[in-house]
Amino acid sequence: MELSTEEIGDITVVAVLTEVLDAGNADEFKTGFASILNESNKMVFEMSRVRFVDSSGCGTLLFCQKQLSKLGGNLKLCGVQESVRSLFELVRMDRIIDIFDSKEETIKSFQ
């Protein structure tokens, strides 16, 4: 899974380049995430290209959040499309993972 990363201070901003995050590529995503995990414990997933997420995709994001919080860090999301956001609300994920509109806001929230 292609995860393009960018370091802003101690924060890693990950551009999620896949359009779909579902049961079909969830494991691939986790592997990709594991490979960048050492870089930082504060991460922002930039989700604007992601058109579709299913329950496995939600599980994957919760998995990432868990891994980061074990390291004393946190996962935050930005640029979430409306349809994806309504799914997050449906499974109450918006209460577990902070979601912001823009990358800048997200980075600010870490400070």
Partner: protein, 523 residues
């Protein structure tokens, strides 16, 4: 089996007369005795004797009045009444006949005469009953058709209660295809066997006309109702005119492919059309004269559009002209009001409701006229658009197929013409089909590859159904724990998502071990 002796009611206030009559008749009949008019009416209503011997001169209510009352009530009006009178004057006899008596016996009477008259009238009554029986057999066998099966998207209910005087109500159904059928309802004026036979003759002519016309036209080009009725009229007009009668009739076609109702009405009762959208009834009447009137202009056909949930009610004047005890008619308005209030219940229940309402109104289950009623209900659920929107997809049990499943659902939903779905709704449907497919692959097939999943999508007038078929393990929705939303669980959201993304989810498994997951989306 020993035949039960006929029951004869003797009404007289004089014990000596009663004794005489009892001694004369007791060997041949069962006897009832009433000593005054009120008791006579009560007895007649309770036991329905086959014949009544009625004294004229009684205190309080005299014989004329008793007879008039018996003849006014549907239940007792057909019981033959013979007057017993000491008065042999013409005037009294005339008055007796006017009150509805069939015959009279003058006092002092002779045993042989009493026996002979009672016997004669009972034989006549038996002959009349036999005629009614034959007529009702004719009606059941020849006049009333059975509704067609397998017409997509309709339900038909029908009701008949033959009156004691059969009057030749008829109805029938002609199925042309799974999406098109005709209904004919008619009523021949006149009573008894002649009317019933003419009704049967009309139906047989109608069948011949349909047969002849369908030879001349091809299957996709059915003869129009107007053409059918014109041909029928040409065949039967001479015969009907000779019989000096006429028949009202409504010939209607339901075209389920185009949602069009076309009909030719010839003086029949106005068909009720309940419009589901507006919750209102309209009354459909044609402009043609009944069959049997000389034809002046061609038969004209009318057309009405209908929609899912609409209802058509055909009925005979036996319903609207049934009377209550004050002589008031049930009437068209009461029927229309009843239909309007109850139009949304099942047709079978509605027709029973109509029956119960007429019975409650008239306080009787027997009627002067035949009561016939046919309901045609257009289903809300079934699929019957001109080009039925159906689609199929087969995938193998591989999570890489998920995008194909979503594309299938997306394109199918976008193709539903009448009620386009917005992007958000389609997004939810994509979500649901993904979750269902993943559940089948991971749980039913335990992540084995190479298994088949078949997906059928179908759109009807008001909903989309997407069915998933697999041959994996049985799925018990109840065995799945409730989702946990505190972030501690990464899975277990699938069913929760499906339940929220669509309007209804049904799981089933057939005898062959084929599972079906059915998603319903209301439009």
């Amino acid at each position: 089996m020993k035949k039960v002796k006929p029951l004869v009611l003797i009404v007289d206030d004089n014990p000596i007369n009663i004794d005489l009559l009892v001694n004369t008749l007791k060997n041949d009949y069962r006897l009832g005795i009433a000593k005054n008019g009120a008791k006579a009416i009560e007895y007649a209503n309770k036991y329905l004797p086959e014949l009544i011997l009625l004294d004229i001169m009684m205190p309080e209510m005299n014989g004329y009045e008793v007879c008039t009352r018996l003849k006014a009530a549907i239940k007792t009006k057909d019981i033959p009444v013979i007057f017993i009178t000491a008065m042999s004057e013409e005037g009294h006899k005339t008055r007796g006949f006017e009150a509805g008596a069939l015959d009279y016996i003058t006092k002092p009477f002779h045993a042989a005469e009493v026996k002979a008259r009672v016997k004669t009238h009972l034989s006549l009554k038996e002959a009349r009953d036999q005629e009614i029986y034959i007529a009702s057999r004719i009606q059941q066998a020849l006049l009333l058709g059975q509704p067609p099966h397998n017409i997509q998207g309709i339900q038909i209910a029908h009701l008949t209660a033959a009156s004691q005087k059969i009057d030749g109500d008829f109805y029938d159904f002609f199925k042309h295809s799974d999406l098109c059928f005709d209904v004919v309802v008619g009523d021949v004026m006149g009573k008894g066997i002649p009317a019933a036979i003419l009704g049967a003759a009309l139906k047989s002519h109608l069948l011949r006309v349909l047969n002849e016309l369908s030879f001349l036209t091809n299957k996709n080009n059915l003869p129009e109702p107007a053409q059918i009725i014109s041909s029928l009229h040409k065949q039967v007009i001479d015969q009907i005119e000779d019989l000096e009668t006429f028949a009202t009739l409504c010939y209607a076609r339901f075209d389920m492919a185009r949602y069009v109702y076309s009909f030719v009405d010839c003086g029949h009762m106005r068909t009720i059309h309940f419009n589901n959208d507006t919750n209102n009834c309209s009354l459909l009447r044609g402009v043609n004269m009944p069959l049997g009137f000389p034809e002046k202009e061609p038969f004209r056909q009318k057309t009405v559009r209908f929609k899912p949930g609409d209802l058509f009610v055909f009925y005979s004047d036996g319903i609207t002209e049934s009377k209550n005890r004050d002589g008031n008619l049930y009437g068209e308005k009461r029927l229309v009001d009843f239909v309007q209030i109850n139009a949304k219940i099942e047709p079978e229940n509605l027709i029973n409701g109509i029956w119960n309402d007429i019975v409650a109104f008239s306080e009787s289950e027997t009627f002067d006229d035949d009561v016939t009623c046919v309901l045609v209900k257009i289903d809300k659920m079934a699929s019957y658009s001109a080009l039925p929107t159906k689609s199929k997809l087969e995938i193998i049990s591989d999570l890489k197929e998920l995008e194909r499943v979503r594309a299938f659902a997306r394109e199918f939903c976008a193709g539903v013409e009448d009620y386009p779905l917005d992007a958000k709704r389609i997004g939810m449907i994509e979500l649901a089909v993904t979750e269902v497919t993943v559940n089948i692959i991971k749980h039913a097939y335990k992540s084995r590859s190479g298994e088949m999943i078949q997906i059928n999508a179908e759109a009807s007038a008001d909903e989309i159904e997407i069915r998933f078929y697999d041959r994996g393990e049985r799925f018990e929705p109840k065995s799945v724990p409730q989702p946990v939303f505190d972030g501690s669980h990464e899975g277990g959201f699938g069913l929760h998502i499906i339940a929220h993304a669509v309007d209804e989810v049904l799981y089933s498994r057939d005898d062959q071990g084929k599972n079906c997951t059915c998603l319903k989306i209301k439009l």
